[in-house]
């Protein structure tokens, strides 16, 4: 039984159908990449999984919980964190306050402090700037904060929406290194990316999305060598 199973999902914005009956699954410990062009429906899928949008039909099962029936604010405590597109950090809160918001549903202060130390170790820059107003961080630092904030909930699965968007190449490499570390520490990763090359290089399996449909799926290494993928997404 997969950790996360999406079946026959249909999502609409008004009369426009953004997701057209897709199904996929994520097994525990995997890094799954969801790749596709701008507007393919990647963000819509993640928003539907974490309850920010309601689907018209379909099912989303996370470790036996039917996520469609669960309100958005109750999903993080099930062990699922979501790093949204465009980071969406709380710009007027300090770095530390943002991180603490990530642990909002946790109550054991000692364990929260342990997680915080671990995050500071992984993102030393956040520690240096913990009392800084988050809106004053650079784009790369804000992405790190968004990831750190999600990790503060101590999730078993983390959903990331285009973490490399708008970052300099140096930061992009750093972000992907961190994603690999997160995976190696035992957290399952569902990664949405337009940067298909980087995403496929760290993923176990991948799904290729086109206008609301999954058009290809399989082993990430094999997809990297697939001619149509190369042409459409890897610019080769």
């Amino acid at each position: 039984m997969a950790m996360l199973t999406i079946k026959d999902l249909n999502v609409y914005y008004g009369v426009i159908q953004a997701i057209k009956g897709i199904s996929f699954e994520v097994n525990e410990g995997e890094v799954i990449a969801l790749i596709g062009a701008n507007g393919a429906g990647k963000t819509t899928i993640l928003h539907t999984i974490t309850g920010l949008i309601s689907p018209k039909s379909g099912s989303i099962d996370f470790e036996g919980n039917d996520l469609i029936k669960i309100p958005a604010h109750k999903i993080v405590s099930l062990g699922m964190a979501h790093v949204p597109e465009g980071r969406r950090i709380f710009a007027e809160l300090t770095v530390l306050e943002n991180l603490k918001m990530g642990a909002y549903t946790r109550s054991d202060k000692k364990e929260i402090d342990n997680t915080l130390e671990m995050i500071y170790k992984r993102f030393p820059r956040l520690k240096e700037r913990k009392n800084q107003i988050a809106g004053t961080l650079s784009g790369g630092e804000q992405q790190m904060l968004a990831m750190g904030r999600a990790l503060m909930s101590h999730p078993r699965i983390i959903l990331m929406d285009e973490p490399s968007m708008g970052l300099s190449p140096l930061f992009v490499s750093e972000i992907f290194d961190i994603i690999r570390e997160i995976s190696e520490s035992g957290t399952t990763v569902l990664l949405v990316e337009q940067n298909a090359k980087k995403a496929l290089s760290i993923a176990d399996r991948a799904y290729v999305l086109e206008t609301g449909n999954i058009v290809l799926s399989g082993d990430a290494k094999e997809l990297m060598n697939d001619d149509s993928v190369k042409k459409a997404y890897l610019g080769e």
Binding site: H73, I75, R88, Y104, S153
Partner: protein, 292 residues
Amino acid sequence: MGSVLEQLINGLGTGSIYALIALGYTMVYGIAKMINFAHGDIIMVGAYVLYVTVVQFKLPVIAAVAITITFCAVLGITIEKIAYKPLRKAPSLAVLITAIGMSFLLQSLALLIFNANPIAFKSIINVKTVKIGDIAVSGVTLVTLLVTLICMIALSLFISKTKAGSAMRAVSEDKAAAQLMGINVNKTISMTFAIGSALAAVAGILFVCQYQSIKPTLGALPGIKAFVAAVLGGIGSVPGAMIGGVLLGVIESISKAYISSELTDAIVFGVLVLVLLVKPSGLLGKNRIEKV
């Protein structure tokens, strides 16, 4: 010189009441992005509840005050739940009209229950006038200043230091991201209405102790003045509402005493226009262009 100071202190007194009310406008705007035009009428409801508990039920002052504040907080939560929550995704004009309707509803209910004749109310604040040199400050003004100061400090600490306060700030910035953190947005909005209405109840109590008369339209004028104060300070900004309210009270009192009591309101609005011309977002408002 003494009388200038006296006017200044009186201005601080009325300004404190404006500030307490303005906090409700600004906090609700910050979190629900709406102007709650029924907010002023909570002051009126508070005044009547105080009257009923103190004069009719003859309850001790402490109990009456506690009941008044609780009643208004619950009323605030209820108004949000039945009137505003169903309109969260509606155009802002629909919300505005609903809020104005809610204001009329509260006034009509008061009219129905207590009729239009003003009720005389004896102040529950029994503090003597204090004289320092040739400056006389009434006991009501002193208590008003003290109570307001305590409320502001408590509110500031709550917003900046507590988990619920941080959650409130997070929700006012980004509701979706706040939900991803596990924050219950509905609960947070309810809490904001409760706090805003409780502060309005405190303002109502202080207001009737000052003016000693209660009628169904009592909340309208301080309500609109406090709204001006909130805009002056920068709507959405908590310190802005505090400063805006106090400033408004002082300008009012000084211009009443030294310029003309007929022109006072014109001067107050003149200052508002001037500030908004120089800084459209208000004194402490964020420089964000907002379409309304």
